[in-house]
Subunit: 423 residues, 2 copies
């Protein structure tokens, strides 16, 4: 590779809002998305909420000449909704399904049935290894009273850990997706601090698109404006994040979003805005170097966000155990009721009523049993994330206590093996 | 690091058979296991089936002076049963819970409730990075008619993929655990071929222990001899597997198993035998180099085992879809029955009977619905593993079609970035 080598990478990301029967103008939007992707010929198009596998197959057929490689990430009952189209061959792919993803009895929210996940693609571009990740975290239904907060923080942590452990030998890391997190939200900060990923919107000098880079805007006719009441400009929850490893530099040359309208005509492509980034990978620093040092300031930012996440997971765990206890009592009461009904039926007292109440009581015990088991499992999942987090926190504190120069053992976003190469 | 540098690593593995209330002499065995581990002072002790977290805490307390680092991997409803004690600091840890792990309605088998997983520990030893994995796959209850075969093959694949993607920058990889797979079983071959891991029992020149390295032997008083009827010497299902990356060489200096008795006195430590391996890591090849070339023969072995696994997963998928279809019909019938009962109750015909049958019918529909959703999810999980496998198979075939010298793009057990370093 020449010293003045530059790799340009054009990336597209969109949450497609492709819910069969429910999303408006789905077929038309999928068709226009295909046309747009074909015309623009990105290196990589990463999509979320492609819930119908048939939509993916239709797109695949249509995009085959421009994007010969494609993959649909299957998981859960409905699917992860994630898929990818690539101009370059995909060397490897795999996925990680998040341990916690909402509650099965919240059927109207549906997230639990999706099997939300992170998909990984390994691509070889001009001799460099690119690990590209696509993900979609649990939706936020009520920002004021968010019962899914602990789950989303746990998902952000699992996502960060998956990237951390699978990208150690990659030259470049790219993460696109709908994080359902505002830029200052705990999960977003946790993810960025622990992986060292940069936000394309914040890094670029050439941005065109919606105000403040919002990815759900009131101008979009598919967006429920009441949900954006508190955010008159919209919200930014979809991201293109990246980092380079091992002596490379990535910069975001241009970053564009759609602005609530179709790029050409007609209705928008989705209720979310599409993101388009042009990334440049170089061996020498770009003219405007982004200030990502890994000094004590970054370490203390990591410690503070880890501590905050720890508290959130701890509260989530307490909540899960509370539910497990309550349902435990309900099971006990149900069993007592069953015993009483059996006695009544045998004793002959009010036999008909007893027999009539028997099956609902069995249902109550079984239902409460299932909810009990679910919350026990939830508590275990949160406890697991908290333990991993606590370990990282402990190591970050150790590194902070020692001199930052002599002990770069834990640098946020750096990977342990890199040190030798960098020194 | 000096050129004649040698790192010795003493490793212990045991499936502890620690089921509260059910496993015989549990408290006594845990106590003796602690004494033994303290006395032997291994570098790393990896344990499975420590189902009670209290047992782990007791062991942790006891082993603290000899093994300052420890971790218990929490998952599922009961837990993964996996834990680890280390003489050296644990730099990082994480885990991956297997997507497929039996059926929730097979309550008497219990695997589904455990949340079987693979745990990863990253250790830094003498400047080298060791990725140590501990795992426990789904049990085999009936070898002749194994309904869990597809799940175990999918688990072996997920395990192999997790190791493949997380160990790319490690210098050494170690996998210990109860695979519930005989050495020639499909899952075991798939794991070894795709990761390139070597079997300590087969590699060592100094083996002491049970005949043919068996890890469940009829001499063990806790083993149900009827289950070993077909295998008079016992079976080998627990493993110590390893590999070195980037110019290092690992050899297994000594390998020992217990032989159905306590190492000192009393009853055995578990119904499984303990494994003890001394591994030597060097920069130069050991005297007896193991013959792990990565030529066309290995590639065709990989292709053949991938093809076999593909077929198994495909059959599993067909089975899952068959169950989904059957339960779909049951749901339909249940709904018809419900409509009929409503009509009868309203019409006044046989009102009491109709009301009496209403709740069991609702139960039938809900139960069948849950089973239906489970099998849809199972089919998705198998389909996902099959897709990953098919991709690797395609790439292996491409590599085979081209000249093996000019195209070492896919070498079983090698990681793509290694090539440059090795050439």
């Amino acid at each position: 590779m020449k010293p003045n080598f530059t790799l340009r990478l054009r990336v597209f990301n969109l949450n497609c809002w492709g819910i069969p029967y429910l999303s408006k103008h789905r077929a038309d939007r999928v068709k226009r998305l295909g046309d747009f992707l074909n015309m623009e010929s990105f290196d990589l198009a990463l999509l979320e909420e492609v819930w119908s596998e048939q939509d993916f197959q239709d797109l695949r057929q249509k995009l085959l000449p421009t994007y010969p490689a494609a993959h649909y990430f299957r998981s859960g009952i409905i699917g992860s909704g994630l898929c990818v189209f690539s101009k370059h061959p995909i060397q490897e792919f795999t996925q990680h399904v998040f341990t916690l993803n909402g509650y099965p009895y919240m059927i109207h929210h549906g997230d639990w049935f999706c099997g939300k996940a992170v998909g990984l693609l390994v691509l070889h571009l001009s001799g460099l290894v690119l690990n590209a990740y696509v993900t979609h975290l649990h939706a936020e239904y009520n920002r004021q009273k968010d019962v899914y907060l602990a789950h989303r923080v746990a998902q952000a942590w699992e996502l960060a850990q998956f990237i951390h452990h699978t990208s150690k030998k990659a030259d470049m890391v790219l993460l696109c997706g709908d994080l359902n997190l505002h830029p200052k939200d705990l999960g977003c900060r946790l993810l960025k601090e622990w992986t060292g990923l940069c936000d394309a919107y914040l890094e670029t000098r050439d941005f065109k698109g919606s105000e403040e880079g919002c990815t759900m805007v009131p101008e979009n006719c598919y967006v429920n404006r009441r949900e954006l009441e508190q955010f008159p400009l919209g919200i930014r929850i979809d991201y293109v994040l990246y980092k380079a490893v091992s002596g490379l530099y990535i910069s975001c040359k241009t970053f564009k979003t759609t602005t609530g309208h179709d790029p050409h005509s007609g209705t928008p492509l989705s209720d979310h805005e599409a993101l388009m980034a042009t990334l440049c990978v170089r061996h020498s620093p770009p003219q405007h170097t982004s200030s990502h040092s890994h000094g004590p300031a970054e370490r203390s930012a990591l410690i503070s966000v880890l501590r905050e996440a720890w508290t959130e997971l701890d509260q989530g765990m307490a909540q899960a155990l509370w539910w497990a206890t309550i349902t435990g009592y309900v099971i006990g009461l149900g069993l007592l009721l069953l015993a009483l009904l059996c006695a009544l039926a045998v004793g002959g007292g009010i036999r008909e009523v007893a027999i009539l109440l028997w099956t609902p009581s069995v249902g109550l015990v079984l239902g409460a049993g299932a909810v009990y088991l679910f919350h026990v499992q939830e508590a275990k999942g949160l406890c697991r994330a908290r333990a991993e987090l606590q370990h990282v926190l402990g190591r970050a504190r150790e590194a902070q206590d020692l001199s930052p120069e002599s002990q770069p053992a834990l640098q946020p976003g750096r990977q342990e093996g890199d040190r030798a190469e960098e020194q």
